[in-house]
Every structure is written in structure tokens, then in C-alpha cells.
């Protein structure tokens, strides 16, 4: 009798775990919204860069100023000396409109995710390194595993490993806030209200250059992220991020 009661008691618990999504619905929705926004921002941002593929440091910069660096690409403006004998078509109109609209969606999505992540304990449970992992030894062990391209541990299908957690923390709490900040620093209206947005960065052209370099960092993350998902099992991981379907049972991998 006691045994039966016990197993009946445990039933909902077991069922709940089997049904538990690998990723919470809010994580899945905000993940793909962010993906869509990021791709829209990337394409439109590159189109805008093509109109002046030169980067400067400080407050001002133009074709009469020596650049910090230039991209070796043709430009969509005849005023920019690129060494190419032709000028690309101007795509800035729709690019700018898409860029700022996607930025708004990204900011709302990010705000929703960050508030939910803080309130639900998602950051504490899933992003903050686990208690046993908060040491340099743990980090070097985890990095060594990654650099050897070791097969992911079975537990990785259920939770993020240390390197993942640290990478996601940097992307979510450092790179995205900085790319938004440097973007706002280029708004003449916004900086008229909050001048420190641009003065702290050393000027408008520094903000633009940092905005570009942060984009390079985010694209690098995206490439490694997709490569790691591929390595870990593309369809299982992508399905988990779309439907929330739990990974195959523990130990079966």
C-alpha cells in the first residue's frame, strides 16, 4: 500500500519532467525574434557601411581625414575614394528604415527577455556558472575540452556547459548593450539629450567604429554558435529551440 501510494505520488513529478521543454517558450520566441532582428540589422547595416566604408577615431571623420582603417570594398557613393572604378547602387533608404525598425523590435525583445530572465531565475539557474564551476581550474578544463573538440557531454543536451554560459553572458550583457549604446551615440537627437552617450566613447566617429567592431564580434559569435550547434547535432538542437522538445533521455547519447 505504502509503495503504491509513493509511486502514485511521484507520477506527476515524472510526467512533468518528461514534458519539460528543453527551452522555455519565452526563450524560444525571443531567441528567434533576436535572430531575425540581428540578420535584418546585419544586412541593412552592411548596406549603410557600403556608402562610406572608412572608419575613424574621435569626433569627426570624412574623406579628407586619414581613416583608422578602410574596408577593401567599393562604395555606393562617388565621393569615397576606394580604388575601384565603379560605384555601387545606393540602398540606404530601405536599409536605414529596416535597421531602425529591427533595432526597436530587438530592444523590446531584449527587454522582455532580460526582465523575464531575472524574475524567473533563468539567469541564475541556466547562465550563471554552476557552483562547482566557479574556478579557473574549471574554466581551463572546460576550455581544453572545447579546444580538443571533444564530443559534448550528455548533460550538455539538458543544460549549458561552462563555456556556453560565459559566452552567452558576454553576448547578452556586454556585446548587445554596447552595440545598442554605440548605435544611440550616433543619433544627433539622442545625444543632444544625453551627451555622455557619445562623449564617454570619445566622439561620434569612435562610436561608429566601435559599432562596427562590436558587429564583427557578434557575427563571430554567430558563426561559432552555429558551428557548435552543428557539431552537437543540428536537428536535435534546432528542434529543441523551435518546439521545446526535450532532448533524448539522459544517458541514451
Amino acid at each position: 500500500m505504502a509503495e503504491t501510494a509513493l509511486s502514485v505520488d511521484r507520477l506527476p513529478d515524472v510526467a512533468a519532467r518528461a514534458d519539460a521543454p528543453r527551452h522555455a517558450a519565452l526563450v524560444r520566441v525571443t531567441h528567434w525574434l533576436t535572430t531575425a532582428c540581428f540578420l535584418a540589422l546585419l544586412v541593412s547595416g552592411l548596406e549603410i557601411v557600403v556608402s562610406h566604408p572608412r572608419f575613424y577615431w574621435g569626433e569627426t571623420g570624412n574623406v579628407l581625414t586619414p581613416p583608422l582603417f578602410s574596408l577593401p570594398i567599393p562604395a555606393s557613393r562617388a565621393t569615397v575614394p576606394t580604388g575601384y572604378g565603379f560605384v555601387l547602387p545606393d540602398q540606404n533608404g530601405w536599409s536605414r528604415a529596416l535597421h531602425f525598425q529591427a533595432a526597436w523590435v530587438l530592444v523590446f525583445t531584449g527587454a522582455l527577455y532580460v526582465i523575464w530572465g531575472a524574475v524567473s531565475g533563468h539567469f541564475r539557474k541556466h547562465l550563471l556558472p554552476e557552483a562547482g564551476d566557479r574556478s579557473l581550474q574549471a574554466l581551463s578544463r572546460a576550455l581544453a575540452r572545447h579546444l580538443r573538440f571533444a564530443r559534448p557531454a550528455a548533460a550538455d543536451a539538458w543544460s549549458y556547459n561552462l563555456v556556453q554560459r560565459l559566452t552567452y553572458i558576454v553576448v547578452i550583457f556586454v556585446l548587445f548593450p554596447l552595440v545598442i549604446w554605440t548605435g544611440l551615440a550616433m543619433s544627433p537627437a539622442f545625444v543632444s539629450a544625453v551627451p555622455a552617450t557619445v562623449t564617454l566613447l570619445g566622439g561620434r566617429q569612435s562610436a561608429r567604429t566601435l559599432h562596427f567592431l562590436l558587429t564583427v564580434a557578434l557575427v563571430s559569435f554567430l558563426l561559432v554558435h552555429v558551428a557548435m550547434v552543428w557539431f552537437a547535432g543540428f536537428s536535435t538542437r534546432v528542434t529543441a529551440m523551435i518546439t521545446g522538445a526535450p532532448a533524448p533521455e539522459r544517458g541514451s547519447e
Binding site: S51, E59, T60, V63, T65, G93
Partner: protein
């Protein structure tokens, strides 16, 4: 379908309906307070409207950054302009003595001002940065008559909502709302870095709107029209920029 999920669906439906009617009410209020840009239609309208509304609320009285004399860019960069029209060349040959700035629309006294008459107002000098939507920028000192002073002298009527300004070089025209038009840093500039504004920089008269990107600082300005509606101008989108795919509001 369980009762719970049906209840969830009804709740969501109600939330969506409330959200939509909330949006409609928000749009009416926003329009009343001048927070909806004239080019708010189309797929990119929501983003353009959010940007304009948010920045208008945040920046109504804020000042564009001003710089020290040592930060003036030497030499400044003169962006490419179309070859001047015959009309412009004739005026230039005469030292622009026949240049006129027409002030018309919702004003008590429409005026047709010569350059000397524009210069007779108290001058404002300011060292600000002009930033092009392409990404480049420079700092210069601009000297001119605050647009607000010209408008006050003409007697702007209370129903005025926008000032439309036209370049002699068609089809270049723009408009700004009264918050920007009456802003102390919005200039009808006639000089730059201690010399008359060169034609390569928009002389003899150029509007300077330092809280927006360079394309709002129209060159060769010869007409200002005060209006309560932008529907009668061009395609009704507020300026030539949206007709060419660019946003009317360029505070970004």
C-alpha cells in the same frame, strides 16, 4: 481542447482586442501631440513613428552639442552637389544681391527678404557637427539668423505645425515640426568659419538643423512655408526624402 486552454484563448483574444484599441487610442493621442511623422505609413512606419515620438518627447528642449574653436575641422568636407542651375548661376554672377528668401503660409506678414535683410537680425554663431547619413561628419562654426526669429518677425499663426523649406535647386525640399523650427539652434545660415557660406556648402543660404542628419540642412534655401498640414506638399510625406526612400525625421 480543455477548459483551461479555451480560457487561455479567450483571454488572449481579449488581450489582443484591448491591445489593438489601445494602439488606436495611442495613435490619436500621439497625433494630437505631434508625435506622428508624416511618413508614418508603410511597413517601416511603426519604426519611424517610434523613433520620432520617443525622440520628440526626450529632446523637445535639448541642445545639440557645441564644440570648442579648436575642434573645427580644417578643411571641412564639401559634399558633392549637382551642377548649379542657370538661375543659380545668374544670381551668383551678381553676388546674390537679387537672392530672395520668401516667407509665406500661416504668417501674419508674408515677406520676401534679401540677404542683407536676413543678416540684419541678431546673428547666432554656433560650432556644431554636421553628420551625413552615410557616416562621415565634420565640425564647423555656422553663423546665421535663428529660424525662430524670422518666424516671429513674420508672425506665425497659432495653428502652425510645420515649416517647409525649399532649395532653389529643385526638387530639394524638407520640413521640420515647430519644435525644431523654433529651436534656438536651428539657423538660416549665411556664413561659415568666418566667411560667407560658400556655394559648395550651400551658400548663400542654408538651413542648419543640428539635431538631425545633414540631409535636413538643405542648401540654397530661397523659400519657407509655414503650414498646419504637409498633405499639400509633394506626395504629402513631408519632404523630398521620403519620396526617395529616406525617413522624414532624421534625428535617428
Amino acid at each position: 481542447m480543455s477548459a483551461v486552454s479555451r480560457r487561455t484563448m479567450i483571454t488572449r483574444g481579449l488581450a489582443a482586442a484591448a491591445g489593438l484599441s489601445g494602439l488606436a487610442a495611442a495613435e490619436r493621442i500621439a497625433d494630437r501631440y505631434g508625435l506622428v511623422p508624416p511618413d508614418h505609413g508603410g511597413i517601416y512606419g511603426p519604426g519611424a513613428t517610434l523613433t520620432f515620438a520617443a525622440q520628440r518627447l526626450l529632446t523637445r528642449n535639448s541642445r545639440a552639442r557645441e564644440f570648442s574653436r579648436s575642434q573645427i575641422s580644417t578643411p571641412p568636407f564639401a559634399n558633392e552637389i549637382a551642377p548649379p542651375s542657370d538661375q543659380f548661376k545668374r544670381l551668383q554672377a551678381d553676388g546674390f544681391k537679387d537672392w530672395r528668401l520668401e516667407v509665406e503660409g500661416l504668417v501674419a506678414q508674408p515677406a520676401s527678404l534679401s540677404l542683407d535683410e536676413v543678416r540684419r537680425f541678431p546673428a547666432r554663431r554656433q560650432i556644431t557637427e554636421i553628420a551625413c547619413e552615410e557616416g562621415w561628419s565634420y565640425v564647423a562654426e555656422w553663423i546665421g539668423t535663428p529660424l525662430a526669429d524670422l518666424l516671429r518677425a513674420a508672425g506665425v499663426m497659432p495653428q502652425a505645425r510645420y515649416v517647409v523649406y525649399f532649395s532653389i535647386e529643385k526638387p530639394w525640399w524638407e520640413s521640420i515640426d515647430m519644435a525644431d523650427a523654433l529651436h534656438p539652434q536651428t539657423l538660416v545660415a549665411y556664413a561659415m568659419n568666418d566667411a560667407d557660406l560658400p556655394p559648395s556648402f550651400g551658400g548663400p543660404l542654408r538651413l542648419r538643423v543640428p539635431r538631425q542628419l545633414g540631409y535636413k540642412s538643405v542648401k540654397f534655401v530661397n523659400r519657407l512655408a509655414v503650414t498646419d498640414s504637409l498633405k499639400r506638399f509633394g506626395k504629402g510625406l513631408g519632404s523630398a526624402s521620403p519620396e526617395g526612400g529616406y525617413a522624414w525625421y532624421a534625428g535617428i
